[in-house]
Symmetry: C2
Subunit: 444 residues, 2 copies
């Protein structure tokens, strides 16, 4: 009983994530406007509908998206997939998101509802196949169309579409409108210059916070930019960025029916269009990957009930796939995650999770070559605390230093396989009492 | 905060598992004797050393075992594996188990320690390669040989090995001596007759209670019987039984470094030796499988912090492997397990887990044919509450009946794939606040 109380007390010492991770201002790409609304689907009256519009008319926008691989794909996933297939990613001008209801496993009626929302926005835009739809929330319940449809219409009323804005507050509200169990809205912005001397802007929004698993989670994310780029190049870039960001995070190992990461590039900055062969393509890809990593990390930081942000760094593997599956196995282990929560230096569980990783190729794991350390991410010394050296467990580990590192809200688990030069970083969090509370009563 | 309190209150209403699942007496096979001892490895002074001996001398005993597939195999696993390789499973007369320390990831020194214990018992028995060793507890710490070695020796002192007994109390103490976070010792016994008119006895002992995952868990289990059977037939029988029992349970999805299920058949009942071709073999196999299922289910019932025992029954699959992986995916889902804890009829999470199961063959899953129900296991009606019928979610589910079923300590999740005739049953439990508490502070 004593342990229980001490852990609960520890969990109650919340970090003020809102203050830490929600920006006070930002830079936003040209030619995008947003609106959000509280339709009443969320019982608490919070914002639950958001619309992003491309209002640039100088050229057609490019869009790309990655969807869940879950076999029960939600209706909005099916509808959005079709839009991208039909258009080839050209001319998509709006994303409509609702939270509170996932419109998943709702059969034909759910598909009809999602299509109706897309059609409504298309009609308002005077275009066809120009709208992506996304939903997040409870599975298996029908959308409250009586609340959502009038709310969508209402956004397009008023002279000059005055409900759509591009100020910081409006973007932050958009980020709020897609939240479910998130404790803070996830909004990041960035400006970068290419060698042509021109600056472009990226804005990213995401929601977590449970069902987070490699190959995407109950994760909605979108990135918009004013860079001009072809649909094919955008798709390639998004796939690569997601493989190094949204596909490298874990909260609870569940993969949802609704996961969608999408990107719209409207080319509102009037420079030459970038394609895959363009000399700037690698640099843009790098920028977008780092940006996606920042956004994905925010999702882990807001993992349901999480008190810790942990980077699992697996390096010197013979194959990248092996490094990734080992990082994933550690990141998903319930026993590693609860030990991290309890600040228990039970590093044996880390080795255990490495040991049951389903390796494609055994060559990356040599139990005589493995090194495992905890690494502090503040400036304290010694930065690296070696737990296993060349396969030999260090039986005289400095437990007080281990406790210091484990008490940090940010820390790293470093695994050096010593068999090659490939590496993979994964981002994960601990599993707390609060996680159980949130997910035990989610629908209530 | 309200949800948190209500869930904690619910969790505190503990079922008295000890009274429900610990037998008051039992039947034990001829020719086995046991001893147990508190060596002081467990800080609380509880029993932490157990020895089973075959004392039948009419013929050589047969032994078989299945070990963890974790790549970091604990020292006792490596030592025991070698014993079975060298002997072909013939003439193994003792199993020594310690709890409190897993002797895993302890390198060469750990291997030496495990071998020393086996050698000590061999010397006491006056035999070679006759002892299996098992350990369970914290990973990465060295065995306290100063406590264990004298305690092992001590058991063999006294006239006529008087420390070894075959009464109910001694068997129950043996079951207690292998517990770690278990809340009750797991001991079952059974007597069955073959058509030859002779009765044979099975006694099974197991420990859980976390790190429980398909393909065995931090699970130690042994079954002893006085049936005469060849080592090869025993091995085949144990493999088949484990595939339908210990490999069909899930507590938290972690697989340990120490998992071992072993069986010794000493043939103390003097009838013809059974081999794979024997007419009674299928019947014996059936008996042992059902017995192993009972034992495996006890491990789930004592899942760390578990408040519910859930049978996941996937039927009418095209392939058995598909049925198993779908059952496993549901059984391991954190979101399904927390919803069960919260008694939340969030069946969408069940479909979600089915949807991300890594199917070998997609043919077993047709989203238009799937049926999902909650099934009550008491005598209340309607026994089956249909949630999804032929792929169509039932939007007017009787939520009060759903709540009644979810409030039961035992319930079934039934998935009918409607694509074939194969089926698989899995046994799982919920994930509670208590699970997090236990695993956050395990080493303390």
């Amino acid at each position: 009983m004593k342990a229980s109380i001490s852990l609960l007390q520890r969990a109650s010492k919340h970090i003020d994530k809102y203050a830490l991770y929600v920006p006070k201002d930002g830079v936003f790409p040209k030619g995008f406007k947003v609106a959000s609304h509280a339709t009443g689907v969320k019982k608490n009256g919070n914002l639950d509908l958001g619309i992003i519009r491309n209002v640039n008319t100088s050229r057609k926008a490019s869009a790309a998206a990655l969807f869940t691989t879950n076999k029960f794909k939600a209706a909005p996933v099916l509808v959005s997939k079709k839009v991208l297939q039909v258009t080839g990613g050209e001319g998509v001008d709006a994303i409509v998101v609702n939270s509170g209801c996932a419109n998943a496993v709702t059969g034909d009626v759910g598909l009809k509802d999602a299509q109706e929302i897309a059609d409504l926005v298309n009609a308002k835009l005077g275009k066809e196949n120009a709208t992506l739809v996304m939903s997040t929330g409870v599975i298996g319940q029908r959308l409250s169309m009586d609340k959502i449809v009038p709310a969508v219409s209402q956004q397009f009323e008023g002279a000059g579409n005055s409900n759509f804005k591009d100020d910081f507050e409006s973007w932050l509200n958009l980020a709020k409108s897609i939240c479910t169990t998130d404790t803070f809205p996830k909004l990041i912005t960035s400006r970068f210059a290419l060698p042509n001397g021109t600056e472009y802007t990226l804005t990213g929004i995401a929601k977590g916070a449970g069902m987070i698993c490699p190959n995407m989670a109950t994760l909605l994310g979108f990135i918009v930019t004013d860079l001009p780029i072809t649909p094919d190049a955008l798709k390639k870039m998004l796939r690569s960025a997601a493989d190094r960001s949204f596909n490298c995070i874990s909260v609870d190992g569940d993969m949802s029916t609704n996961d969608t990461i999408s990107m719209i590039a409207n080319g509102a900055v009037d420079t030459a269009v970038i394609d895959e062969a363009h000399e700037y393509f690698p640099q843009v890809q790098q920028q977008v990957t780092e940006f996606a990593q920042q956004l994905a990390q925010l999702v882990v930081r807001d993992g349901e009930g999480a008190t810790k942000f942990v980077t699992v760094n697996v390096k010197n593997a013979l194959h990248f796939a092996d490094a990734k599956i080992i990082a994933e196995s550690i990141s998903n282990s319930m026993l590693v995650k609860t030990a991290l929560y309890g600040q228990d230096a039970n590093w044996g569980r880390i080795l255990c999770a490495i040991g049951y990783a389903k390796l494609d190729n055994l060559q990356s794991l040599d139990v005589k070559k493995i090194n495992v350390s905890f690494v502090a991410t503040d400036n304290s010394e010694p930065r690296e605390l070696k737990l296993v050296v060349d396969g030999v467990p260090q039986l005289d580990i400095d437990e007080s230093r281990a406790s210091e590192i484990l008490a940090l809200p940010d820390l790293e688990v470093l695994v050096d396989l010593g068999t090659g030069s490939e590496e993979c970083q994964f981002w994960t969090c601990d599993i707390s009492h609060e996680y159980v509370t949130i997910n035990g009563d989610y629908r209530s």
